[in-house]
Subunit: 136 residues, 2 copies
């Protein structure tokens, strides 16, 4: 996806979270020596989210293993739930918890539209979840 | 301060936090329609920090009231401790909790070197603090 398209999707998500009472922040563009971080971090005093965002026009998105590992590591250190936020063109956002992202070919993980619709949460479900549900 | 100098200071702080086992992230540059966010957010599963960073060559730094208010609001919504991280040239970092930032002239808040040395925490103190200490 284009850089601008990605940034616009992230901004949209930050505003959606803000409208639900969360504080959310976009990460600085990946500089040369920057440590890995997710695209968006959000908190509402009870729950903290680390979200890798994708805005795509295809019906599936592959993720290199290191992108998945970096999200996992950041979220674990930070104390946040690790999510992939994926916005298919002309459709709304889906949020897939990292535990539900499936291994695809080789070292790639994959989220398909079908998988996102089945396993993913809508935005309303994401922000409505309680901490307890994710910890069990 | 120059934009680059500010970014370098933020990167340094993100690395320092990372080296102590925290996850930390720099905010994206303030875009035209971006909601206010602090320069750095960090977490270690027990504590969450929202940090506004300054790298300065003078002995004091003024902050407009809205910058202070925005940090307070973000930290409150997010569930993070609000800190000003200030790095005087040729000196180490000092961290002043928002509750300890004093009102200066008019609508400006001010942190002087003397105030930072007296009221501020060193980096080691900041990351060594326990949640309980800040909550009481």
């Amino acid at each position: 996806m284009s850089k601008r398209k990605g940034s616009n999707a992230e901004r949209e998500l930050v505003h959606m979270l803000h409208d639900k009472g969360w504080a959310a922040m976009r990460a600085a563009g990946s500089g040369c020596t920057t440590l890995p971080s997710p695209d968006v971090v959000a908190g509402n005093t009870e729950r903290y989210l680390a979200i890798e965002c994708k805005s795509i026009k295809n019906n599936s998105q592959y993720f290199p293993e290191d992108e998945i590992e970096q999200l996992k590591t950041f979220a674990h250190r930070f104390g946040a739930e690790p999510w992939i936020g994926i916005r298919f063109d002309f459709l709304k956002w889906f949020f897939v918890h990292l535990d539900d992202v499936k291994k695809g070919k080789g070292k790639l993980y994959v989220i398909t539209l079908e998988h996102a619709q089945k396993e993913g949460k809508s935005f309303e479900e994401l922000v409505g979840l309680f901490k307890q549900e994710k910890l069990t």
